[in-house]
Point group: C2
Chain length 149, copies 2
DNA sequence: TTTTAATACTTGCAAAATACAAGTAAAGGG
DNA sequence: CCCTTTACTTGTATTTTGCAAGTATTAAAA
């Protein structure tokens, strides 16, 4: 049997490069980490700083400064939580939302192009498999504990 | 239909964190990029600098310095190609090979743990799907051109 | 054969990313 | 009212990064 890790390594590296390319294409020009931050803010409900920093695996101090630059670029807004003002609630500005959406569309376009090399059955199988995988990883306690989805 | 990118994003982020953890566990303590470099050298036949830098998506100058530190750490060896001395052929030292193998085993152990949350049929389906995906990505010309596997 | 161009890689430098330690500010006990 | 905890920010020093410009080697052209 082949090395399972190898399959994953190839797949995730390709997807990582895809992600990297999509940051600096079509109107947006942000770094990969910044793209990840926008994505994560967009997908969580009224997230705090730590709630975004955790799944990205970056130190909170590094994250704090990254958010500062995104705020300066007018892509992210930081609002103190009225219930507990220690928390900063992160949200996307209109411009930030636009960039996040643009990247998302680009990524999906690329992925659809990839899926165009398969038949419909294969495509369905692959998508179902990734869901299975995500569920299994969520159940696993040995790794990747803090990532939702 | 759900957002395909979202499925990929969750999966690859988890795998990325896994990769990150495995670098600095069980005897080895190297950075994520260094781990990727060791992996890539281990999987290519007499690779040159550029041949490793390309699939990792890092600038050749950054890569050059990373290799320098790996050579200093006695994990990588750099040999001038006798046929064309502009090329440096990269190889793992015994110690480098050991670390690469250790990381590989750890990754596979983690992945097997993940697969333990599925039945045999699901596992087979998932593995087949990832192969399908890798083949489709290899065929795609819009992205990730330089990655072998 | 000399010159020119191309390739593979390396260094200079300046900017960005990173993380530890130490700080501030707010909330919750005791 | 103090003391602790939590959420986040700044000080500082190190590391990483990549463009520009360099060296060294090969290939091609004059």
């Amino acid at each position: 049997m082949e090395n399972i890790r190898e399959l994953f390594q190839v797949m995730t590296r390709r997807f990582g490069l895809l992600n990297k390319n999509c940051c600096s294409a079509g109107g947006c020009d942000i770094s990969l980490i910044q793209s990840h931050i926008l994505y994560e803010i967009d997908h969580q409900h009224k997230p705090s700083m730590q709630q975004i920093a955790d799944p990205l695996g970056t130190d909170i101090t590094t994250f704090s400064r990254q958010v500062q630059s995104l705020v300066k670029m007018n892509l992210v807004k930081k609002t103190p939580d009225p219930d507990d003002r220690r928390f900063s609630i992160l949200s996307l500005t209109t411009e930030g939302k636009f960039i996040a959406t643009t990247i998302d569309q680009q990524m999906n376009a690329f992925l659809n192009e990839v899926f165009s090399h398969m038949n419909e059955f294969e495509k369905e199988t692959v998508i179902r498999s990734i869901k299975l995988l995500n569920n299994a990883m969520a159940k696993s306690n040995v790794c990747c504990g803090t990532i939702s989805g």
